[in-house]
């Protein structure tokens, strides 16, 4: 049996290891188009902040890890897949047959249609190569504009702050991390960042990026209804999209991402998908969605590999979960934090101390949550949501005081 994996990120690597474990004799080929050893994108901010070197981003640290497992690696781009013909084509023109294929090509960053984003000095922050470029230009005191204060943008912000650049953050939305935080939390994070010396401007639209003609900086950003901003470096973090371009004629169905069923199988039986690239069952809603986060990449990689070896493993669904550190202010969001129809919510806000917790319930079950300023036991929120624990009388306690979550967790799960 020959298993081929496209993409050597966390989804691909976990899948390769799981395939080996499940099928000790199978042939496993891991194809990735980046030159470095398999690494973790989400460690990039810590590289930029100089907490680690590039080796610190590697997914596996033993240099012979994949060889020892008998996993063959190919560092090349896949340019096309023929799903029914069970072959794929590499950039070099070589073709490779497979019995089972895993699509784990992750996502690629996308930029809005603003003129001037394609010039030197404007860069995404998605790969190690991007990180090296940014490190070259984001020196102490240099003028850096970060476009986008979504989840990834906000994480990069933290790293840029640690590089002591003169930072301006521009966000089109009306608050920070709009897809992870409600108005209250998004605004508190913004005020916290401003208090900590970052120039954050929400509801700000960039119209054009031009070379700067004053000689003070490399670039000028023209903004709608605001003064132009000068920058030596513009980092674009305005969103990502599943990398499916090479799959156009593959025969697998693609909507937002590669469509998979509850076994992470695509519309072609021998082809599976995992990680950022797949559009899988969303936990708790029954919808299919792309969840571009690390825990989902690892989990789908594992489950897809189980199924590729015939174990019939049902995927429980991707739960939205994020944790963000904004200059020391820690925030989390889980599941259906916006609430559900006919649901109830409770919240507790201490604006002066930047503390906030909001819980969303459906009957007496927790379905979503947002926290700000909480670092202890946050995981139980996941536990309560995904175990569908019936809170019983604890629901009423939490409606009155949502901060008693740990007590409610123990009360509802650990008492006779």
């Amino acid at each position: 049996m020959r298993y081929v994996i496209i993409g050597a990120g966390p989804a691909g690597v976990v899948a390769a290891e799981t395939l080996r474990k499940q099928d000790p004799k199978g042939e496993v080929i891991l194809i990735g188009d980046e030159p470095e050893p398999a690494y973790s994108r989400m460690a990039i901010p810590y590289l930029l902040a100089e907490h680690i070197d590039e080796r610190g981003t590697y997914l596996r640290h033993a240099t012979d890890h994949f060889e020892n497992l008998g996993i063959r690696q190919i560092h090349e781009k896949v340019t096309a897949v023929d799903g029914t013909g069970h072959t794929l084509t590499l950039q070099s023109g070589e073709s490779i047959n497979f019995d089972r294929l895993l699509i784990a090509s992750g996502s690629r960053p996308v930029a809005p249609p603003i003129p001037g984003l394609d010039q030197p000095g404007v860069h995404h922050c998605w790969t190690l190569a991007d990180a090296r470029y940014i490190a070259d230009y984001a020196k102490a005191g240099s003028k850096v504009v970060l476009m986008g204060a979504g989840f990834i943008g906000s994480i990069i912000m933290e790293a840029l702050v640690e590089r002591h650049v003169e930072l301006t953050v521009l966000e089109m939305g009306d608050r920070m991390v709009p897809r992870m935080m409600d108005q209250t939390a998004g605004n508190l994070i913004k005020h916290w960042c401003i208090d900590h010396g970052v120039n954050v401007r929400t509801s700000t639209r960039v119209m054009e990026v031009k070379p700067d003609d004053t000689g003070i900086a490399r670039l000028t950003l023209e903004c709608e209804a605001a003064k132009p901003i000068q920058a030596d470096l513009v980092v674009v973090a305005t969103g990502v999209r599943p990398e499916t371009r090479y799959l156009e004629n593959s025969g697998v169905q693609i909507r937002q991402g590669v469509v998979v069923n509850d076994y992470l199988q695509t519309t072609l039986p021998d082809i599976y998908a995992a990680g950022d690239v797949c559009e899988a069952l969303e936990w708790g809603t029954g919808n299919h969605a792309v969840h571009a986060i690390q825990p989902v990449a690892a989990e789908t990689g594992r489950v897809a590999a189980m199924n590729m070896t015939g174990s019939n493993t049902l995927y429980a669904g991707s739960l939205q979960m994020n944790i963000l550190d904004s200059i020391g202010l820690i925030s989390t969001s889980y599941g259906q934090w916006q609430g559900v129809e006919n649901g109830e919510s409770s919240e507790l806000l201490d604006e002066a101390r930047f503390r906030y917790i909001k819980l969303q319930f459906e009957a007496d079950r927790l379905v979503g949550a947002i926290t700000l300023g909480m670092t202890e036991h946050v995981g139980v929120l996941r536990g309560l949501i995904q175990s569908r624990t019936r809170l019983g009388r604890w629901k009423e306690h939490l409606m009155k005081d949502p901060s008693r979550i740990m007590e409610a967790y123990l009360g509802a799960t650990h008492s006779a």
């Binding site: 989400m42 493993t313 994020n322 944790i323 536990g383």
Partner: protein
């Protein structure tokens, strides 16, 4: 035979000796705030529940970690944080459905129970044997497993 921490909340008096011992063993200070085991108090019922990591067989924290920083101690089976590899991303703290991996803002790393390398200070300190360290298939272990199963979102193989 691997051993594990077995907790009997009914024997706990809430004296917090375990938290003191844990923080001293691991952080060098007698400070319950820095303890990896926590005693939760249920005021109305007068009940105390010590709570810490159960070292799940297939650990959520370990699976979620992007840098291989949570590793298994082959002797004890404990899932241990390798501080040199941990980047402090906190993904494990939201992935652990038991809430037993916590972020330490002072060090920028996470902390969790590591069974003190096979001689857990909390169990030694507990005067009432509410916390004991014993063979994994002894009483209590199955109960802990069943809590784990309740939150088992890691897909289960179907027959």
């Amino acid at each position: 035979m691997m051993r594990s921490l077995t907790i009997s909340p009914d024997k706990c008096t809430g004296c917090l000796q375990c938290e003191m011992a844990c923080s001293y063993e691991n952080e060098g200070v007698f400070n319950p705030v820095k303890s990896r085991i926590k005693v939760f108090v249920f005021e109305q019922e007068g009940r105390h529940v010590p709570y810490t990591c159960t070292q799940c067989a297939d650990a959520w924290c370990q699976n979620a970690c992007p840098t291989e920083a949570i590793q298994i101690n082959a002797q004890t089976g404990a899932k241990e944080v390798n501080e040199g590899l941990c980047v402090g991303c906190k993904v494990c703290t939201i992935a652990c459905p038991f809430g037993t991996v916590n972020y330490n803002q002072a060090t920028g790393k996470v902390i969790k129970c590591d069974l003190c390398g096979g001689d857990p200070a909390c169990a030694k300190a507990c005067p009432t044997q509410a916390i004991t360290y014993q063979d994994a298939n002894w009483t209590g272990y199955d109960k802990m497993r069943s809590w784990a199963d309740k939150t088992n979102t890691q897909a289960t193989a179907q027959a």
